[in-house]
Point group: C2
Amino acid sequence: MKVAKFGGSSVANATQIKKVGEIIKGDQERKFIVVSAPGKRHKDDFKMTDMLIKMGTAYISNEEYEEYFTKVLGRFNEIILELNLSQTLIEEIEVTIKQTLALNVDSNMKMDAIKAIGEDSNAKIISAYLSDIGISSSYINPKEAGIIVSDEPGNARILPDSLAKIYTLRDKDGVFVIPGFFGYSEEGKLVTFSRGGSDITGSIIAAGVQASLYENFTDVNSVYTVNPNIVENPKEITTLTYKEMRELSYAGFSVFHDEALIPAIRARIPVCIKNTNNPEARGTYIVAEREVNDQCVSGIASDTGFCSLYVSKYLMNREIGFGRKLLNILEDEGISFEHAPSGIDNMSVIIRERNLTPEKEEMIINRINNELHPDTVSLQRGIAVIMVVGEGLVNTIGVANKATSAFVKANVNIEMINQGSSEVSMMFGIQANDLDKAITALYHSFFD
Amino acid sequence: MKVAKFGGSSVANATQIKKVGEIIKGDQERKFIVVSAPGKRHKDDFKMTDMLIKMGTAYISNEEYEEYFTKVLGRFNEIILELNLSQTLIEEIEVTIKQTLALNVDSNMKMDAIKAIGEDSNAKIISAYLSDIGISSSYINPKEAGIIVSDEPGNARILPDSLAKIYTLRDKDGVFVIPGFFGYSEEGKLVTFSRGGSDITGSIIAAGVQASLYENFTDVNSVYTVNPNIVENPKEITTLTYKEMRELSYAGFSVFHDEALIPAIRARIPVCIKNTNNPEARGTYIVAEREVNDQCVSGIASDTGFCSLYVSKYLMNREIGFGRKLLNILEDEGISFEHAPSGIDNMSVIIRERNLTPEKEEMIINRINNELHPDTVSLQRGIAVIMVVGEGLVNTIGVANKATSAFVKANVNIEMINQGSSEVSMMFGIQANDLDKAITALYHSFFD
């Protein structure tokens, strides 16, 4: 029994939805279909969710909203027409939108309900289409499916009781099409997940029904071993572990919405990234454990926009609580840190630059000086982080050497190395302007 | 104007003290002489301070102490006789010991006064000897010299006003011999520094008189680039910076009592390690700054007896305060950590094994499980730490590669790398039983 989730580009228009139909037909195990709202059909297109937000914001602010309303309805109508589905569908959607706009609830709750129209309507359309091509399909609302969430508009979290309820869906006949992105609070309010939350719905359903596989259909054949914007035609990754995926996605691999996979991971459901436009391609599997082969590095991820806060004080390591106090100051100021290597008499804290405004920087440096009396404190911006990721890497002699050789070859100075805190990765910090040549050298070193 | 401090083996007997006399004669700049108590004359010998502690403990416990008293007095008498000094000296020392034992003060204060007899008596003897060979020398008591300390028996700290008082010694004529290891509280109580504290006295005097050089006479020609017990006849280090010295001494280089140099470092006084038995040897200089040459690695230090506490939790880096809370638990339990590298979803804390009893370990792991709800927490013992130390190392391309190549050559797996938190070192963690081959390979890689 599989859960298949289709992202925005996979359900952007009738052509794409027909592909989805073929995919569902192709494997009878595909019983639970989770769908996004229509995404972009081409580079300059709009995403349905963005248009719904515009419409909702205008409506709530008592501004002109009809232009957006027309675009929303027009796009759904186009899909329905091209799929030759009944016109009652578009009439139903129109009624739903009008009723949602007119809801007598607070504005946060109303916005959540408006945003959810994209997925909800698309699920109804796709279910109707699947029936039309001979699949015994039903639309199922998240409330009915059992997706019970916390009452945090735009940031819902799944409640523990949901999974047992969802499990009972297994016994029902036919294929179910479930709109992604939202659930219902215990009081019955519609609440959305954070943006990109259709992945969360898919993950929850996969965990709930204890799927044999959670298929995540996108518009790429697989995850690549390195950013294809830096290295042309890089190798594809066939299998990743959850841990590897997480380390890669940290540094720029936008495989997944970070938190989306948690329910599937907790239930140890294998996940597969597949291409709606090329469903024959094997895709990339993300699993709990994998066999470690000779090629111990799975992928190389990188990201820019980091800075390093450096604090030194003679005999720091004798001062019980120094590190804790430093992290405490950051916590007080609401700064999460990425990495905090410490030496004998010094400690560095790597922070995302976007989290550190000049005001915050000044505040933090003042507090460190006043409260910790260090010998020096300084901040370096413009750092790029590279993650070399692979299960088994930590126990393989020579991986660090292979990596550092690549940096020498690329004539790049390594500002920072962190190996050993993670079981599956090695982290390097370099100057951001050296990034492309470092990544290229690393790729050739590990994958040629 | 120089301060020369002579360690225990440099003043262990008359032969050694005669060498000290020659050294003082050899350079008129040597005005302040700080001396330890007599150390071991051969492998099975006793150190004067140990014997004084035995005597004091026995006396305070109302046990037989005369045997120790006789050994203490006998040893001083032997030195006095061999140096052909007046017998009134030994009579004075005997009176001092008896008066000290009979002091009507609490036992901590009495022990401090007893322990100080070794340095104090030796200073009197050495000053008398210097006068005897024609040097205008005076013994000066630490109270008179201005060494005013906190009232913490066995762990005194210098008080800020001391340095100005000590500075006035510059204007007095002649050479001064000052016993190391103790000072006086503001109330006039004798209080000792922690063990090895004669280095502290030397450092304080050097800072106070703003010496041009603080010479620390020991029984080695210099500091070696690597532990000579692992690599035979290693190269000598000619110049180190304070920071380099600190990183080396952390991992097994017992160049100095760790805190001893703080006063000299704060005053930016250059320090020189020299050999009493071979004063012609250049020695090793420890300075605030040095020119960085091609050979960017100064030394390689190593130490065993570390363990690694590993904690992982999915999405740890999203949880503001996670690292702080972990360090907080360690702080609560009085555990200082050496190094705390963190990754995306994990954090390791390197702790000296001796600081982590099995009871503490259980307590800490329970608290981490209960308070932080990690996915995994584990402890690995038997780790050795290697520090590759050198100013400029961080900005030199290829140092990490040279080091990791050595590990490959030695067929040693690197469990942990930390570069970048320190400006002058790179830290590696390996299995302790791989230490000798790793060190040997690193030495040959950097120094051949």
